[in-house]
């Protein structure tokens, strides 16, 4: 609480990708937390079993808005790189959200005004 001053938001943290092996990468994602991390991890582990050998996420410290994800591809995966696998999991998440949104909007047709 301050008088005659206003707070300034911290700078956003850009995405960094660590690791030289294209099939095993660690991603440091800024401004994200368990909401995205656990969702993607679950999709990678339980949804893309033949593509991904290992997937995990962590939030290194709660005071920093950083999400760390690690993806390791399985042998014989259709995805070429771990980046592709992670992007596919993002697609899957988007499809899930679209499907749920469509179902909810359909059920509440008369109430909903949002496009």
């Amino acid at each position: 609480m301050s008088v005659n001053t206003t707070a300034v938001a911290p700078r956003p943290i850009p995405l960094t990708i660590l690791g030289n092996n294209p099939a095993s990468r660690t991603y440091r994602i800024g401004e994200e937390d368990h909401s995205l991390g656990n969702c993607l991890r679950n999709i990678l582990v339980s949804g893309m079993e033949e593509e991904v050998d290992f997937a995990g996420y962590s939030v290194p410290h709660p005071s920093e808005a950083i999400l760390q994800m690690r993806v390791q591809l399985a042998k014989g995966a259709k995805c070429e790189t771990a980046d592709d696998a992670l992007m596919e999991s993002c697609d899957a998440l988007k499809s899930m959200c679209d499907h749920v949104m469509g179902t909810v909007k359909g059920r509440h047709e008369h109430e909903v005004k949002i496009e």
Partner: protein, 74 residues
């Protein structure tokens, strides 16, 4: 966005009951105090006796500033 108009955030409403003696308070060295007993606004300067001019009460309160103060609503 180009049509955005600046929002006016300066004080546009004049102070009301506080500026009872506007002329005197604008002279340098005068400050306004409210009597604790009768509520009369007294203009005092340095070395003046600390007494209400109307009722003689000796406890005077400084009046809130006319300056606008900004707060974060947090």
């Amino acid at each position: 966005m180009d049509n955005a108009m600046q929002v006016d955030n300066t004080a546009s409403l004049a102070a009301t009951s506080t500026a009872i003696n506007p002329l005197k308070s604008r002279e340098k060295g005068f400050c306004e105090y409210r009597c604790g007993d009768c509520g009369h606004i007294n203009s005092l300067k340095l070395q003046d006796a600390i007494r209400c001019r109307q009722c003689g009460f000796r406890v005077l309160y400084k009046i809130r500033t006319n300056r606008m103060v900004q707060f974060e609503a947090r």
